[in-house]
């Protein structure tokens, strides 16, 4: 993942169509357009896995069924713990077949409709519930070094808990980190970078103006009347964290996409 950062490759989040959509074909067409646009730009398309517990189609099946070209190293699939064992193995096998090696392994958000991996499913004997740590171990054990595995870092969680969990994630095989959205310098991200200077860290930039959603994501209330310019914030994050990559969540493909090519600016001028 280090070369993504060095080559200024944005990680662009794409949400696959929801299961309950009443306009599936339109949504698939929109997904296709976004995916192909990201591929053509040379960025990395990051496809979510039932984000917020809302049932959606899986990224790997969208790519396969729609016949999309997943260019090498330009796709990242999110993979959480809310799957059946059979479904998990099918996702991993399909990703391998499609040459998709980048996975973001997360615990994820559940819902009534979603199954949950059991410890026995992933061969875990030391836990009551499967988290990203057990899922990482399973993927490493079953698939060796094929996959490049990333994990989430939440700077809004209690520090001792999150830091201890991060160490377990790294020990389980995580190779890179994507943070929760940050909109300014974050002391916890700074601490992570100091502790792991060689660890590729990708900070998440919030590209939506819907601050109530950002409040939900970060776990504290950001007043709705807060002045917030996503593009300006993105530029400032590059200056604050020049050695980090950037993950663009909820990017507006109609209004923002064409603007981001000029945003990866570091001290010394535009790149």
């Amino acid at each position: 993942m280090r070369h993504h950062i060095e080559n200024r490759i944005y990680h662009v989040e794409i949400l696959p169509p929801k299961q309950d959509t009443e306009k599936l074909m339109d949504d698939l067409a929109a997904f296709t357009e976004k995916f192909n646009r990201v591929m053509a730009s040379g960025y990395c398309a990051c496809i979510t896995d039932n984000a917020m517990g809302l049932l959606a189609f899986q990224g790997h099946e969208c790519i396969e069924e729609l016949g999309l070209e997943a260019k090498p190293d330009q796709v990242m699939i999110h993979l959480n713990t809310f799957h059946t064992k059979a479904n998990l193995d099918e996702i991993l096998a399909t990703c391998k077949r499609l040459g998709i090696a980048n996975l973001l392994v997360i615990s994820g958000d559940g819902s009534d409709r979603l199954p949950k991996l059991s410890p026995a499913d992933v061969g875990a004997t030391d836990t009551a519930a499967v988290t990203s740590v057990e899922l990482l171990r399973y993927i490493r054990r079953e698939h060796g070094s094929f996959f490049h595995l990333g994990v989430a870092f939440n700077p809004y969680e209690p520090a001792d808990h999150e830091d201890e969990k991060m160490e377990r994630k790294l020990a389980a095989g995580a190779e890179f980190v994507i943070t929760q959205p940050i909109i300014e310098r974050n002391a916890r991200v700074d601490a992570l970078l100091r502790k792991h200077p060689d660890l590729p860290v990708i900070v998440e930039a919030w590209m939506s103006k819907k601050l109530h959603l950002l409040s939900d994501a970060v776990g504290y209330t950001i007043p709705e009347d807060t002045a917030f310019d996503p593009i300006a914030t993105l530029k400032s994050l590059h200056l604050i964290y020049p050695k980090c990559g950037v993950y663009l969540s909820l990017l507006g493909f109609k209004t923002q996409y064409d603007l981001i090519k000029d945003t990866w600016v570091v001290e010394g001028g535009a790149q």
Binding site: Q19, D20, E22, L24, M25, L55, F57, Q58, E61, C62, E65, F82, T84, N87, S107, G110, S111, D112, R113, L114, P115, K116, A128, A129
Partner: protein, 262 residues
């Protein structure tokens, strides 16, 4: 094994409104979904077909938009769907509905097994499955939590009740209503959903399958709703987690994970 799964499209809300005049649930303007309990019946049918071969047919009675619910069944493995829709069946109560469905099952022909969810989340009567069995004169087992065994002539099932379960042998043809414990319904794949989008759903009318006019619709419905009222507010319960903060937090996390919230 030829299996019919009777399903229902229901309002996707727990905040159902009742029309004060008709005493019926207001369905207009409310997003509709496949009755959640029926997803377990569909899954069990698909699993039985995988083990023993045969065909799974999803059947419903309702407005034409109920075809969407049938397509959802096809997207998770049902072979085809049949919609029974006609103005003449409007206002049917559970007895008239189960009569129409039983006639449709006879019209499909050669059916070994009928599966239903234990109840629909809108009416909550749990009467249609047993009603179908009564109209057909078939054996029935309600609240089935597991199919232990199946042969060419019948099933051995576990029937859940408050104190445990009964093991019952049920000869074909039979009607089962199933509970959530029976399986984990699969989530539609995109491939399945795309195939379902293309599926043709035949629409049957009562006259097509020999329904007696006096047994359907309002005329065929012995139920008269004389009054409706909302249920009392659900009373919450509080569980106090004893112990240290760490132990309490662990217990809370474990419980949230058990409920698939985390």
């Amino acid at each position: 094994m030829k299996i019919v799964v009777c399903i229902k499209q229901v309002p996707a809300t727990s905040d159902a409104k009742i029309d004060p005049e008709t005493k019926r649930i207001v369905r207009e303007g409310v997003k509709a979904v496949l009755n959640p309990f029926d997803t377990y019946a569909v899954e069990e049918a698909v699993q039985l077909r995988a083990r023993f071969g045969g065909e799974v047919i999803a059947l419903t009675m309702g407005p034409e938009r109920a075809a969407i619910a049938l397509k959802e069944c096809i997207s998770v493995g049902a072979d085809r769907g049949v919609l029974h829709a006609d103005r003449a069946i409007a206002g049917s109560d559970t007895w008239a509905t189960s009569y129409v469905l039983s006639q449709a099952i006879l019209a499909i022909g050669g059916v070994d097994l009928v599966l239903c969810g234990k109840q629909a989340i809108d009416g909550d009567t749990a009467q249609v499955g047993p009603g179908i069995a009564a109209h057909l004169g078939w054996l029935q087992a309600t609240y089935v939590m597991k199919v232990d065994d199946a042969t060419a002539t019948g099933l051995r099932v576990r029937r859940m009740h408050e104190d445990g379960y009964d093991v019952c042998d049920v000869d074909f043809p039979a009607v089962l209503t199933v509970v959530k414990d029976i399986n984990v319904p699969r989530i539609p794949t995109l491939r399945g959903r795309l195939a379902a989008e293309k599926a043709e759903i035949p629409v049957w009318k009562p006259a097509d399958i020999g329904c007696a006019p006096e047994l359907i619709g309002l005329d065929g419905s012995p139920t008269r709703v004389v009054r409706t009222q909302p249920p009392p507010p659900r009373s919450g319960t509080t569980t106090v987690l004893d112990g240290s903060a760490r132990d309490s937090a662990r217990a809370l996390v474990a419980e949230l994970r058990r409920r698939s919230i985390l």
